[in-house]
């Protein structure tokens, strides 16, 4: 394992992180909502992917749009039912509500799927490819590619579609947006759906290269926060870059130190950024 290998591995996994964090950045940037349930939805994405493959032979790398759509609808439903009640309330209540949703989803997953680890065996994902001294698992490359494509697609959506513009308008000024004919509630619901879908699809893409169980989401929620803070709160672009950065930082930690300290790296980066450069690496609003 060389330095370059660690760096590239970091980028590959960082791509998926970028997708997850983009979802979180969207939700926070537009709705000012602190979403502690992000990881739980990622977990749901992994299970959709899992059962899609084991029961319906649907390859995650093709079926991910379907899982994204399912989670989008689920998220919109949860928004109407619950989340919309704490919009504009103080973040205490938002954190508690989303944490409650998270625990409920995890608990239901435990009841429905059992607590054991699950993995799938996707032949294409297990293949190794590479050049020279470097080798990569094809699964990583595929997950990275799809994630990156989605992040770019998200940016295009936000930049060039009417709904995308509406979303950005609400992000900039929630009070003024209605005066421009934007239905803020609707935009919030769709944003929440999109953000969750990002997490869920990332989960679906992670399954072939990792494993899952009901509690797998927790670390990803925290990771997303770390990345969003790193990239500059609310900046989708910053989150994407932050995701790549974190991926690399983690791999370097594993390379120079030990695998098990990668978690600590997350938190240390988090605290350092918040204390030293709260507006994130890529500026934006503090």
């Amino acid at each position: 394992m060389s330095f370059v290998q660690a760096f590239l591995n970091g980028l590959l996994v960082g791509g998926v992180y970028a997708l997850i964090a983009s979802g979180m950045a969207l939700i926070f940037g537009v709705m000012r909502l602190v979403n502690f349930a992000h990881g739980a939805f990622l977990m749901l994405g992994t299970y959709l992917s899992y059962y899609g493959w084991t029961l319906l032979a649907l390859n995650p790398y093709f079926a991910f749009p379907l899982w994204g759509a399912v989670l989008f609808l689920l998220a919109v439903g949860i928004y109407w039912l619950l989340v919309r009640r704490v919009m504009g309330a103080n973040d205490f209540l938002q954190i508690l509500l989303t944490e409650g949703i998270s625990l409920t989803l995890i608990g239901l997953a435990q009841l429905a799927f059992g607590a054991d680890y699950r993995q799938i065996n996707l032949p294409v994902a297990n293949r190794i490819t590479g050049f020279g001294p470097l080798h990569f698992s094809v699964g990583y490359i595929l997950s990275f590619a799809v994630s990156l494509a989605l992040v770019i697609a998200l940016r295009q959506f936000l930049g060039h579609t009417e709904m995308g513009r509406a979303i950005r308008a609400v992000a900039q000024n929630r009070t003024v947006a209605p005066l421009m004919g934007i239905r803020v509630e609707r935009v919030s619901a769709i944003t929440f759906g999109l953000g969750i879908a990002c997490a869920g699809v990332a989960g679906a893409l992670l399954l072939p290269i990792f494993w899952t169980n009901p509690t797998v989401g927790g670390p990803y929620t925290l990771k997303s926060f770390v990345i969003v803070v790193l990239g500059g709160m609310g900046s989708v672009q910053g989150a994407a870059l932050g995701g790549l950065l974190l991926g690399v930082a983690e791999q370097f930690t594993a390379y120079t130190w030990a695998d098990r300290y990668t978690e600590v790296v997350n938190f240390v980066i988090f605290l350092l950024v918040l204390l030293l450069r709260p507006q994130g690496l890529f500026g934006g609003k503090a």
Partner: protein, 319 residues
């Protein structure tokens, strides 16, 4: 102020509770009530920082774990009496609180909450990975604070002073100048500063007893179950439980966490007899219920019913 006519129920409650091991001989029920007591203590302690000062900490398990590990490791490695270890745990928790507090209290809102989670997780990972010193992820046996026979009763009697002390402290804070300053910080830090409050100092002053009480609770709890391990005493779930118990019962009230612990522990226990592994769903749904229907906690039902003048409103009245 309005505690004078209310002394009677309090006294009756504590006498009845303390005497329980004398008339309740069912080991299972005693254990259940013991857990209610320990978690009530956890909730009361969390309340100082979370309810009164309004700082949503989800990292309190760090102090719980420090208490448990300090007692265990000092007994095991240095040969101390476990009770000395309990004191050590409280002292270490206080020191750690100063460190963590000085970092995390600079942040506000969700950033603060996340930083408390980060701090607790750092501690968990460090302890989990120090195999030689701390027995790593596997954990180890915790020493017994009392000697058999009648362990259930003895632990019960041991936990009561802790509850009593926490309760007394909460009562004092509730109507003291300090308590009002904490509430001001919770409501609006800028306004608090305009009335001469130094938020940085007062937040730390609230965290100190909070951490120490939590640490002692951690020591007693792990001793009762004879086990310490990162999954049991450094699990983020415990942080969430502490917050939930206080919120569920009524944050920034003295009785709230006690009510909350009763409701939560009994509900979780009730579900467990029918379905295994339901405690997460129970916690989750209760959190949702509290936020959506009962932001003032269970106690707000009684306040309305008995028309007791509310000493403070629900958390964050900017709804």
């Amino acid at each position: 102020m309005s505690h004078l006519p209310r002394w009677w129920p309090t006294v009756v409650f504590f006498v009845a509770l303390t005497s329980m091991p004398l008339w309740l001989h069912d080991g299972y029920l005693l254990q259940l009530v013991f857990r209610v007591i320990v978690f009530a203590v956890l909730g009361i302690a969390w309340n100082f920082v979370g309810g009164y000062a309004g700082q949503l900490s989800l990292g309190h398990v760090a102090y719980f774990g420090i208490g448990a590990y300090a007692m265990t490791l000092s007994t095991e490695r240095i040969g101390w009496n476990p009770w000395l270890g309990v004191v050590l745990g409280a002292v270490l928790a206080a020191l750690m609180a100063m460190l963590i507090g000085s970092i995390t209290f600079r942040l506000r809102g969700p950033y603060f909450t996340l930083s408390t989670i980060a701090a607790a997780e750092i501690i968990r990972v460090l302890i989990q990975n120090q195999d030689t010193l701390t027995h790593g992820a596997v954990g180890t046996n915790a020493p017994l604070l009392f000697q058999p026979p009648d362990l259930d009763a003895k632990f019960f009697f041991g936990a009561m002073p802790l509850l009593g002390g926490a309760f007394a402290l909460a009562t004092w804070i509730h109507s003291s100048r300090f308590g009002y300053r904490l509430r001001a910080i919770r409501e609006n830090e800028n306004t608090a500063m305009a009335v001469g409050v130094n938020p940085a100092v007062d937040k730390l002053l609230a965290l100190l007893p909070s951490a120490m009480v939590t640490a002692v609770a951690g020591s007693i709890y792990s001793s009762y179950f004879s086990f310490v391990g990162p999954d049991t005493v450094l699990n983020i779930e415990i942080s969430v439980q502490a917050a939930l118990i206080a919120m569920l019962g009524g944050a920034a009230t003295v009785w709230g966490p006690i009510l909350g612990s009763i409701v939560l522990t009994l509900t979780a226990e009730g579900f467990k007899t029918y379905f295994e592994h339901t405690h997460l769903v129970v916690y989750g749904l209760l959190l949702i219920v509290v936020v959506v229907f009962l932001p003032g906690g269970v106690i707000s039902l009684f306040q309305r019913r008995w028309r007791i003048r509310r000493q403070t409103g629900p958390i964050g009245a900017q709804q």
